[in-house]
């Protein structure tokens, strides 16, 4: 019996293949590295991530047109490439800020870095998946790694609790996501986005209630990682409990991946249901922004506050999804880089304050930072300004793009609400600044940051400012991304 298995075009998945080799190789290398020098594994992982990043970037020029492989279940376009770079950048920075932290927490293990790479792999598949099955498997690969990473400090009560919460809610929601996929499959007979779109168009299923429900279930499934209301409940608890580098990681990368998958499914799969999903996302967007910002006001724990802030940011980014125009996609793409800079930076500061017996995540730990570490305080202010969306920072440019997109699409009320929310947000960001500048420091043990952390902070700090003053390069990349992505649509 002869079955011919056609060889798929593997050149498009070179970054993913490299990632798998890197992660597996890392585990092998880990065996030969003594326990007190696990940092070396981190360096290797970092080097590998940089290599994969360069390889991924090399595709950019060739991908003016999207290309598919694996019988159309995998697509590589600039949109996917852009987000892959976001993930790789975030992973690199996370590795940098983890090096010292893991030693302080005494959980320096090679598996940590391997899991992080596998997680990145899952996200890379997610943004390139053109088939719901592949996207689902990408989500699960990412999610399983993140669950473990969130509970990596396994002797810490809060940490394991965070992992359990994340895990249970994640698995629960993934059941709903699967039901959504099943519904789409039942209605259209396919899971491949292009075919789904074709069938919807052909059979005129745009108002099919099954599909509407399926759309909502998909949004719910991805909404958990996005941390949009009402699927955000896990976020504050997990952010607080997880190891801080992982908190930084999950506040950016899985969110970006889920957003990218959401955008791809909604724009390329069920775009004819646009009127329906716009209504739903409108409500979710309004609720998400408001809940995130208002709840953040009263938080005493900075990690928790940033968790709510990240919920609110998910709301702002939803504006771009809602707008469904080129500027919107450009805004989403730009915002995620900006968001990666400023959020990684803010969490990096929290890690910086980690010392013996002090987690550094209480707002009181920031007291008088301007006096003891003026430069650190200035950098934190840059991140806070950016998070609050004040020029000249990258956060402002990103928010401007998203708002402009929403205005262009006619969502005036939502933009007004978003602007109002931005004002509310100022209050809690200002609380940190106030603690740093207007309160006197308490005598605390000396800070001893690792070099990796300092490097990471400088990199993200410089980027936050640089792309605020000169956003052109990133903006034009984001514009190309959006252009090819939306071109495919029409």
């Amino acid at each position: 019996m002869n079955v011919t298995v056609p060889m798929p075009n593997l050149s498009l998945v070179v970054p993913e293949i490299l990632m798998v080799i890197l992660a597996c190789g890392l585990l092998l290398v880990d065996l030969f590295i003594p326990k007190d020098r696990k940092r070396v594994v981190g360096y290797i992982a970092l080097a590998g991530v940089v290599v994969v990043g360069v390889v991924t970037a090399a595709f950019w020029g060739k991908m003016a047109q999207p290309a598919t492989t694996f019988s159309g279940t995998f697509v590589l376009d600039r949109f996917a490439l852009f987000f892959k770079e976001v993930f790789l950048f975030t992973t690199g920075i996370t590795i940098l800020i983890s090096l010292k932290y893991l030693e302080i927490e005494k959980v320096s293990l090679g598996e940590y870095y391997a899991l992080m790479l596998f997680c990145t792999l899952g996200m890379m598949i997610m943004v390139s998946g053109a088939d719901l099955i592949v996207i689902y498997l990408g989500i699960e690969t990412m999610a399983l790694s993140v669950y473990v990473l969130a509970g990596f400090m396994k002797f810490d009560h809060k940490c394991t609790e965070a992992a359990l919460k994340y895990f249970l809610l994640g698995v629960f929601i993934s059941g709903i996501l699967l039901y959504g996929i099943t519904l789409i499959y039942a209605a259209t007979g396919s899971t491949q986005l292009a075919q789904v779109a074709a069938v919807i168009k052909e059979k005129g299923l745009a108002k099919n209630p099954l599909l509407v429900l399926a759309m909502f279930m998909l949004a719910a499934g991805l909404g958990l990682e996005i941390a949009m209301a009402p699927f955000h409940f896990w976020a504050p608890d997990v952010y607080e409990g997880a190891p801080t580098p992982i908190t930084a990681f999950i506040s950016v990368a899985p969110k970006a991946a889920a957003f990218a998958a959401l955008v791809r499914i909604f724009y390329h799969g069920i775009q004819l249901l646009e009127p329906q999903w716009q209504i739903l996302l409108w409500i979710i967007c309004a609720v998400t922004m408001t809940i995130g910002n208002v709840t953040a006001l009263m938080q005493q724990n900075v990690k928790r506050m940033l968790a709510y802030s990240s919920v609110a940011h998910a709301g702002y980014i939803l504006l771009g999804v809602l707008a469904a125009n080129q500027v919107g996609v450009q805004g989403i793409a730009f915002y995620f880089f900006a968001y990666a800079f400023m959020n990684m930076g803010a969490f990096g500061l929290v890690i910086y304050l980690r010392r013996e017996n002090i987690v550094g995540d209480d707002i009181d730990d920031f007291k008088g930072l301007a006096q003891t570490h003026p430069l650190l305080a200035v950098i934190m202010v840059v991140f806070l300004l950016s998070l609050a969306g004040i020029p000249p920072t990258a956060g402002f440019v990103g928010k401007f793009l998203l708002f402009a997109a929403a205005i262009k699409a006619g969502f005036y009320w939502l933009v007004a609400l978003a602007a109002l929310n931005s004002v509310v947000a100022l209050f809690y960001y200002f609380r940190i600044a106030k603690a740093m500048y207007m309160q006197s420091p308490e005598p605390l043990p000396q800070l001893s940051p690792g070099r990796g952390l300092v490097l990471a902070l400088v990199v993200v700090g410089v980027f936050t400012l640089f792309f605020g003053i000169y956003p052109q390069p990133l903006m034009s990349l984001a514009k190309d991304t959006a252009h090819t992505f939306m071109m495919f649509l029409s």
Partner: protein, 167 residues
């Protein structure tokens, strides 16, 4: 309404599955609950085999789900050797009510769409063989297949990293 043999089989199996599912949720002791789930999965496998023409899935269901996952569950439950107080939950009626209410709301939502599901199952029509399925997996979904292997590896790696006692 004509009742044929397949209907009888379906309702019989469905009844069994339903009962065992209720068992999973409402039995106090986790071990018995797990056994109930085991039964549930096995009967589901029969459903796949008999009515839906999916023999391979039925096998996988028995081997992986029932054979591996459930054994794993039972193993961990017994390993912990929970005292009676641990698994004997105090009833929290409002939570049960809320759970029921939320779930009912959700079910209602899909239920009212029942009319949208078209098509019928024709048991005994043969269905797909393993060959067709494997061809499908190894051509069109080869990427997904490879990814699943990575996923299983990640799960094993993560489980070991979390569960081993020493660092």
């Amino acid at each position: 309404m004509m009742i044929n043999a397949w209907d009888v089989v379906f309702f019989f199996l469905a009844g069994l599955i339903l009962l065992s599912a209720l068992g999973v949720v409402f039995i106090r002791h986790p071990v018995y609950s797990a056994l109930s789930l085991l039964a549930n999965l096995c009967v589901t496998a029969i459903l796949y085999l008999s009515l839906m023409g999916a023999p391979f899935i039925a096998m996988v269901q028995i081997i992986v789900y029932a054979g591996a996952i459930m054994v794993f569950f039972l193993f961990v439950i017994m390993l912990m050797n929970l005292s009676k107080g641990e698994y004997q939950e105090r009833a929290v009626p409002w939570r049960l009510l809320l759970g029921l209410g939320a779930a009912a709301l959700f079910a209602f939502q899909i239920f009212i769409l029942a009319g949208e599901w078209r098509g019928v199952l024709s048991p005994g029509a043969g269905g797909f063989g393993v060959k067709a399925l494997s061809h499908f997996i190894f051509t069109r979904y080869i990427l997904a297949f490879e990814l699943v292997s990575v996923l299983i590896f990640v799960a094993a790696l993560g489980a070991v990293a979390l569960a081993k006692k020493k660092l």
